[in-house]
């Protein structure tokens, strides 16, 4: 073991630093979305009736389904860390695979939700929105911008987790060296965390 430790000194590695870096990145993301939430709340405060009317247009069922999907996927990626610590590579890959599949399912739902809205003529710059009140234009503008930015994070998260799956497969990530898996999981939980607030603000509060 001592010999081993000796040879590992060259392999520059700082798990604590990697994780701290990820957290600091997550903080910048929280501030980014926090800023958008402030914009949303102020416009809602200034246009309460229009926001009320516009929010009724959103489908609570799709919103709830996507919330459940993200919560379950958050659990599976959290479990993937436990299973890599327990040296169960196959289970780790299965759990990460489920996370990726659920993320894709989320995007499919989002696709149907958006195309549904667009086919009803509700999208930025559409005829129908031009005839609506200022508040409704703001609501749907924020809806597309914020859920769109969130969906972009989902795509980045899926790519990240997919890449780490490859590393697990090739044993570059294993039971004693898995900080990148932890970081991809942290990123995925951030995506979940943002949705936890997007969901009530856009779908529930009408």
């Amino acid at each position: 073991m001592i010999m081993n430790d000796h040879t590992q000194i060259d392999e520059h590695r700082d798990d604590e630093g990697a994780k701290t870096g990820m957290w600091i990145f997550i903080f910048t993301e929280l501030l980014l979305f926090g800023g958008l939430f402030i914009v949303y709340s102020v416009y809602r405060y200034l246009n309460p009736m229009a926001f009320h009317m516009a929010a009724e247009e959103l489908d609570i069922f799709i919103g709830t389904a996507n919330t459940v999907i993200l919560l379950v996927s958050s659990m599976t990626i959290a479990m993937a860390i436990t299973s890599i610590q327990l040296k169960r590579k196959r289970l780790t890959l299965i759990l990460m695979g489920i996370t990726v599949l659920l993320a894709l399912l989320f995007l499919v739902n989002k696709y149907f939700e958006w195309t549904g809205k667009i086919s009803h003529g509700i999208f930025p710059g559409s005829e129908i929105l031009h005839q609506s009140s200022q508040g409704e234009i703001l609501f749907f503008g924020l809806y597309y911008a914020m859920t769109g930015l969130h969906a972009l994070h989902i795509i980045v998260g899926v790519t990240f987790i997919g890449y780490v799956m490859w590393l697990v497969k090739t044993d570059d990530v294993k039971y004693d060296d898995y900080v990148i898996l932890e970081n991809s999981a942290l990123y995925w939980h951030l995506v979940d965390l943002i949705w936890i607030f997007l969901f009530p603000l856009f779908y529930l509060i009408t």
Binding site: D15, W23, I38, V42, I60, E182, A185, D192
Partner: protein
């Protein structure tokens, strides 16, 4: 350096329990906002969202088991956000 040798291993069961609580909170927030409570439905929905995010941060994101410095930094950022929200609304409410 830390090689994860003495890393805390969270049980699968813990995650399952956390997920169940998260789902209960989700359906409760959907249920409570269907009843017309006026301003309180916003408050109720946000309280559930805050409770859910605390669970995600503490358990899924390992803040409960990691070094305390991460939890402290996270608390600091949340405090900063809340101050900014407070100041913004003090402006809009008392113009």
């Amino acid at each position: 350096m830390e090689n994860g040798q003495h890393a805390h291993i969270v049980k699968y069961k813990t995650f399952v329990v956390v997920l169940i609580v998260l789902l209960v909170f989700t359906f409760s927030s959907v249920g409570i906002t269907q009843i017309d409570l006026g301003v309180y439905s916003v408050t109720a929905a946000l309280i559930f969202a805050v409770l859910k995010s605390i669970l995600v941060l503490m358990y899924f994101m390992h803040l409960k088991f990691d070094k305390k410095v991460y939890a402290l930094m996270t608390a600091g950022i949340i405090l900063l956000l809340m101050i900014v929200i407070l100041v913004t609304f003090l402006d809009y409410l008392y113009r």
